[in-house]
Symmetry: C2
Subunit: 528 residues, 2 copies
């Protein structure tokens, strides 16, 4: 059939692929090796470095969170890509647009006043490690596809595991092994599929609908998402209730009751996702007790330490994973609080062979080469959802080299200390309460509702309004919220690399001032 009209050239004659091949020399476009020219890279590269350095230097001038409405940027950009670069300095023009159009619409996660969610801790070495990786641009999906990249990953996951005081059984040096993925959801999904496949061998592959997975009502949604993707029935995900009296930790006794009930109902317990440092309040599930329960049911235990895993670099936090020798897999996001820049999720497993059995390729046609055959070589494509992968090990290795384990401890302790200060300030103001005991560098707090205000719903509305007005203050802090057991609270997560004591004090002053103003309005019955 004839191609549509715009596939014709200017003469109206149809032009097919072959006609481009036999164009005379006069028609041949320039070869594009200039697109990776070393001198051009140097020129543009120095521009970019100065651009980013200027951004860091100006960070304080930006509101952390932009005051923009949906569609603000889409409306400003053309609806299709240019046919040719607009000017001879297209790169410079684009950088100016990044500065003038894009940065003002970003949420500035590196701002010293970013206290929302969890940190995405950047630093010069991690950021430049990413730049190096992008410059080298290798695809280390097998050992052969980039031997040094694979081996550095093997080295650095052991380095990190030792720095975090993980059991040796999870590291290469102890018969296990680790890999660097993008995110926790990927890590859990990989572990879950390995566990699922092992279990289905035992009970028969037709019984996928009988498999049950366990977590608490505080577990991050990433787990439910992973379980759903892996084909676990939505009704077979047990979210076990937690209580404030237990600091929102999952109770082994409740887990045992839930598993036994499932067994009695003819179902098959499969997988437990325990959390060290939950997203809402940084609760820590008791690993040893949970593993003991899981073991009686042949259940795979994964520990999700996405946020708090970084704190394990400090020995004073190691007791939080006592009993971790019994877990099957463990993951943490080094990009959250360990300076590894987004993205960098480390996953360790006790039995890599189970990962490979679940995720490995059977077709080896283009992937094997003589060097890897018959040797103890890791092909990381078989350890993850993805086949293509980035050389993430480089930045993590640079961070560990350049700061050292003690440097990372200083980094964590500095934030924990600032969070303790913030907590003390909250406690010192009787209008406020700390809602969940602080364990790391997250403080969960709320304004106590005046008695005359009414019930819990009104108290939540008050605190929601408090957060909105705090976040609306132009040069103020940016925080987020949690809702645990029906109680709405503000979350102040300290962890941005640029955050100093003064930012924490200033943030608290803003919260106090907004609260005073809100309470005054309430007394005057203006708003309630």
């Amino acid at each position: 059939m004839a191609p549509p009209s715009h596939f014709y050239n200017n003469n109206g004659a149809p032009q097919d692929a072959a006609s481009y091949l036999h164009a005379g020399p006069g028609n041949a476009p320039p070869q594009d090796s200039c697109l990776l020219d070393a001198d051009e890279f140097r020129r543009q590269g120095h521009q970019v470095i100065d651009f980013i350095a200027d951004y860091y230097g100006r960070m304080d001038d930006y509101p952390v969170h932009p005051s923009v409405n949906p569609g603000f940027l889409r409306r400003q950009l053309p609806d299709k890509a240019p046919s040719r670069p607009e000017s001879s300095d297209a790169f410079g023009a684009a950088l100016r647009d990044v500065r003038d159009l894009i940065l003002p619409g970003m949420t500035h996660w590196q701002s010293a006043r970013h206290f929302a969610h969890f940190p995405a801790s950047s630093n010069t070495v991690g950021a430049l490690g990413e730049a190096l990786t992008a410059g080298i641009n290798s695809v280390p999906f097998t050992w052969a596809a980039s031997p040094a990249a694979t081996e550095l990953e093997m080295v650095v996951v052991d380095w990190l595991g030792k720095a975090l005081h993980l059991p040796e059984s999870l590291m290469f040096c102890g018969g296990g092994g680790g890999t660097l993925l993008g995110t926790t959801c990927e890590a859990i999904l990989c572990a879950l599929v390995a566990a699922r496949d092992r279990k289905l061998v035992d009970i028969g592959s037709g019984r996928i609908g009988d498999l049950v997975v366990y977590c608490s009502d505080q577990t991050h949604f990433a787990f439910r998402k992973a379980a759903h993707i892996a084909g676990i029935h939505r009704d077979n995900c047990r979210e076990i209730a937690t209580y404030r009296d237990d600091m929102f930790a999952l109770s082994p006794a409740e887990l045992q009751a839930a598993m036994q009930a499932d067994v009695d109902a003819g179902l098959v317990p499969l997988f437990l996702c325990a959390t060290v440092g939950t997203t809402q309040t940084t609760a820590v599930d008791p690993i040893r007790g949970l593993c003991a329960v899981a073991a009686t049911h042949g259940v795979w235990v994964h520990v999700d330490a996405a946020y708090a895993g970084s704190a394990l670099v400090c020995p004073e936090f190691r007791h939080l994973i006592d009993g971790a020798e019994a877990v099957d897999s463990f993951s943490m996001n080094a990009h959250k609080w360990l300076l590894a820049n987004n993205d960098c999720c480390a996953l360790w497993v006790k039995k890599p062979a189970l990962l490979v059995a679940a995720l490995g390729t059977e077709q080896e046609y283009i992937l094997k080469d003589a060097a890897s055959e018959g040797h103890d070589v890791v092909d990381y494509k078989d350890w993850s959802v993805t086949l293509t992968r980035r050389f993430r090990a480089l930045k993590l290795w640079l961070v560990l080299r350049c700061y050292g384990v003690e440097g990372l401890r200083d980094h964590i302790r500095g934030h924990v200390r600032m969070a303790a200060s913030f907590e003390d300030m909250v406690k010192a103001d009787p209008r406020f309460q700390v809602v969940a005991k602080r364990q790391f560098a997250l403080v969960c707090f709320r304004l106590r509702a005046p008695e005359e205000l009414g019930g819990p719903k009104a108290a939540n509305a008050l605190n929601r309004r408090l957060l909105e007005e705090v976040n609306a203050a132009c040069s103020g802090p940016y925080m987020s919220s949690a809702n645990v057991g029906g109680v709405y609270m503000l979350r102040c997560a300290i962890g941005s690399t640029l955050t100093e004591e003064r930012h924490v004090r200033e943030a608290w002053t803003v919260v106090q001032n907004v609260a005073s103003s809100l309470l005054t309005k309430m007394e005057m019955h203006e708003d309630y």
Copy 2:
């Protein structure tokens, strides 16, 4: 219980988290905001840019593939991270180690002589776009978490879709929509889970074991991997045989027969993964015919154009996806051949609501904010496996801006032209044959086995040896292989940004010389 001994400080007294909080001012370590100091970033950043530029300048000096044995790097590195940085210029020392230890052990995907696998096309703008993203280090998991990052992604997937001549129904402007993920396996997995969930609503969630997915025996393993992860029974993945007479394309008639057989057996056809540009030989499945078959069975059609999708920027290739209006989803890796640097996989879907239904979070506690409620806002965390994500749109937008659609066409056509030259050279040497018709910039070829050599097995051995010796040539090309229908062949994939005509000619000369030497040895019965 007592912590192990190394958690005690030098005095032997146990030290807990609290003791670090109340250290006197003299004991307080420095605040770590200096880790993101603008001036330090500038200093280290310029070092890194020069380092990468020097690497590009020196690229030709490296063998494409290192001659190293498993363990070569692990043996050279310490078994744990340093406690403190080794020197005051730890970063400079680490860069020297990258140069002296790591680069010599890399496979240099950016080498002009890298013809293996598929290209990972880098360029100054794409690489520096990654560096910018790493410097900004935002986490745009929701619109609110970085409005400009989300909106730029929405803009750029439409730009790219238009540039590739995709149907508007797959773009935001036509009621569909796209996102930027890491890899094709993720893209297929997302589409598959959406399709699975929709089908299970119709047939009952207990019937996951009855779902059947379809592909050809040429489809990339990523599809089988995704299907397995999603809980599709391994026995329910139909790999339909292809034939050289059909140029290894999937036949609609064979697909229809397979689907009907499954229906007759009480199974439920779910999903077809069609490929435009297979990994082994760049075969193109006939979209229109396959979609017609799929429609009669209510089957979701995904098109995996991981490699060849980039070629669609040229109108002369558009006919290869005729009928794409009927597909449900489409993905391609802009990091392979469209200068977007690893990683950047674009996924478009006709009905984003189905993706969100399958992958969306139910808990909105910390994720929503007032700005996004009630508006037509995309929260990309609900479009993918991962929640955390990188700001990939920035580099792709920079590439499209700085080269323009015509610039990308020149880039693709240059490689296609060089591949055609290579193909002509192969054809001109009667000792060789082109095994699969060249469609893009991959040439699959082999040495014809002399008659006296024996059967196909010996011919394969000869070509395997040819590849090994070609790849062992120190400053020679690096190619990979395929095995289709029992026929082993060499793959010469042209697509590195630095590759020029002369590299292609030189590569062919190496192949010819190695072949001559091999054939001479054979004649002398030295080796056979």
